[in-house]
């Protein structure tokens, strides 16, 4: 099926079987292998991407469902000039990744949430609820929580500097 979507700002036209998951379309048809498949049943969140700004499990969505929609992946997180997103810097600064396989999913989960409502990082309960969405087997999570708080602070600072 013909499917037109925008991925990281770039228009794409794909011809895919209806059963092709969004994750596979991104990885195999768009060559964007930063989105990882770790459980393929929606539990771990490694494949999390933003569809129209909303964090979704790309293993539980079909590419054909994204016709006409905007998709953002970890490859589209940094600025066009390559400047890392504050979340990317914070994950490194807080040692919030070890093997790095779950990292793109956590980054997109947090990026979607902070864009929607930056205050989520200031409320420990809401932040915990948010970050409970994804699984990591290496870090023990605390460093991930710190990284998101740190990045939220950076984003907040940037917003104030702009205004």
């Amino acid at each position: 099926m013909r499917t037109r979507l925008t991925v990281n700002g770039q228009a794409r036209e794909l011809d895919v079987e209806p059963r092709r998951t969004l994750a596979d379309a991104l990885r195999e048809d768009c060559g964007l292998t930063g989105t990882h498949l770790a459980c393929e049943h929606g539990v771990c969140g490694a494949c999390t991407v933003l569809v129209d700004g909303e964090a979704v499990r790309s293993c539980l969505m079909f590419a054909v469902q994204c016709d006409g929609r905007q998709v953002r992946t970890v490859e589209g997180l940094a600025a066009a000039d390559g400047t890392p997103h504050p979340l990317q810097e914070a994950f490194s600064a807080e040692h919030a990744l070890q093997c790095g396989f779950c990292t793109p999913g956590f980054l997109m989960l947090a990026a979607g949430a902070l864009a929607r409502d930056p205050s989520v990082a200031a409320d420990p309960d809401r932040l915990r609820e948010l970050l409970t969405s994804n699984l990591c087997r290496c870090t023990g999570y605390e460093s991930i929580r710190r990284a998101v708080v740190r990045a939220a602070g950076e984003l907040d600072g940037a917003r104030h500097a702009d205004s």
């Binding site: 998951t21 909303e54 539980l60 969505m61 469902q65 609820e129 969405s133």
Partner: protein, 325 residues
């Protein structure tokens, strides 16, 4: 873990969607958060998927205000996502119902799943540990099913037939759930017991009640995953209705039921009623199935504990929200 092939249809209107469902072995794709999981495991292999995500009218969430007969309802259409209920829905007059749905919604999976998954999808899927089927059953929701021959309405209590089983026919689309508004001043409670935050409910209890002069004059109690289908705890409701139940009752009830004797109730007014109802819920209303990490006896016991805690919550909520106690 790749799905088997299927035919994909994405209708834009309700009638078109119903028509598309008439194909052999067709399934509805709404949120897809359970269906696609099963398709990836190939435990589900539908020949056709009818993706209703482009049917705009399906995203509606409306309130019918209570008329003279008090028959107001929240009308939920097929594309209302779990997330819509996270914050108490902003409709005047929805009050306690919105608080209950909000309490429940935060227990469903996690934010990305809630952003996709739908209440009606959950009802139609009928997972034994899902929360919404028990909410619908407990509150006496009405479910509207649209089929080739028109629309019929089924009471939630008659809808569920067992694990993953409902009376919906394959060619029917669950097009609307009507959740009755709760009485003014009702208090709500929901307590879930689960092993990790990534797991389904092991058990959960729903409690809604209204107090008049310290006496329970309206009550709904429900259980999640305590039988082969959602349970409305009728026997426990009967045990509580008309009984005194101050806000101190539930906490005192803990001590009572801990001692194992509902009859030792006297000390705090109403403690016996709450403890007694909770025990009835565990002993009579629950019909637990074998589970890997829980004996039948444990499940009955846990139902009692959860119902008591949910009642405790509902009693506090009734007081906070106004004219209770």
């Amino acid at each position: 873990m790749k799905p088997a092939p299927f035919e994909y249809l994405a209708p834009r209107g309700a009638a078109e969607a119903v028509e598309a469902l008439s194909g052999e072995d067709a399934r509805v794709l709404a949120g897809g958060q359970s269906l696609v999981l099963e398709m990836n495991y190939r435990t589900a292999r539908p020949a056709r998927l009818v993706d209703i995500n482009r049917v705009e009218e399906f995203a509606r969430l409306d309130v019918d205000r209570a008329g003279e007969s008090g028959d107001g309802a929240l009308r939920v259409r097929p594309l209302v996502r779990h997330r819509a209920f996270e914050l108490p829905v902003e409709h005047a007059g929805v009050g306690p119902l919105a608080r209950l749905l909000s309490l429940v919604a935060h227990h469903i999976a996690h934010p990305p799943i809630r952003a996709r998954g739908t209440m009606l999808g959950s009802l139609a899927y009928a997972h034994p540990a899902a929360e919404w089927p028990a909410v619908a059953t407990t509150l006496g929701a009405h479910l509207d099913l649209a089929g080739p021959d028109g629309t019929r309405t089924v009471a939630a209590g008659d809808f569920f037939t067992g694990p993953f089983g409902t009376v919906r026919r394959p060619e029917e689309l669950l097009i609307q759930a009507r959740l009755p508004l709760l009485p003014e001043g009702a208090g709500v409670g929901f307590v879930e017991h689960r092993r990790t935050h990534a797991s389904f409910a092991a058990l959960a209890a729903i409690a809604v009640l209204r107090l008049r002069d310290g006496v329970v004059d309206w009550v709904r109690l429900g259980l999640v995953n305590a039988a082969d289908r959602p349970v409305r705890a009728h026997a426990a409701e009967r045990a509580l209705l008309g009984q005194p139940a101050g806000t101190e009752a539930a906490s005192a009830a803990r001590a009572v039921s801990g001692g194992g004797a509902a009859s030792a109730a006297g000390a705090v007014d109403g403690a016996g009623a709450v403890a007694g109802a909770a025990e009835v819920a565990g002993d009579v209303d629950a019909d637990p199935r074998p589970q890997p990490h829980a004996s039948i006896a444990y499940q009955r016991h846990a139902v009692t504990v959860l119902v008591r805690r949910a009642l405790d919550q509902a009693l506090r909520d009734a007081r906070v929200s106004g004219d209770g106690g």
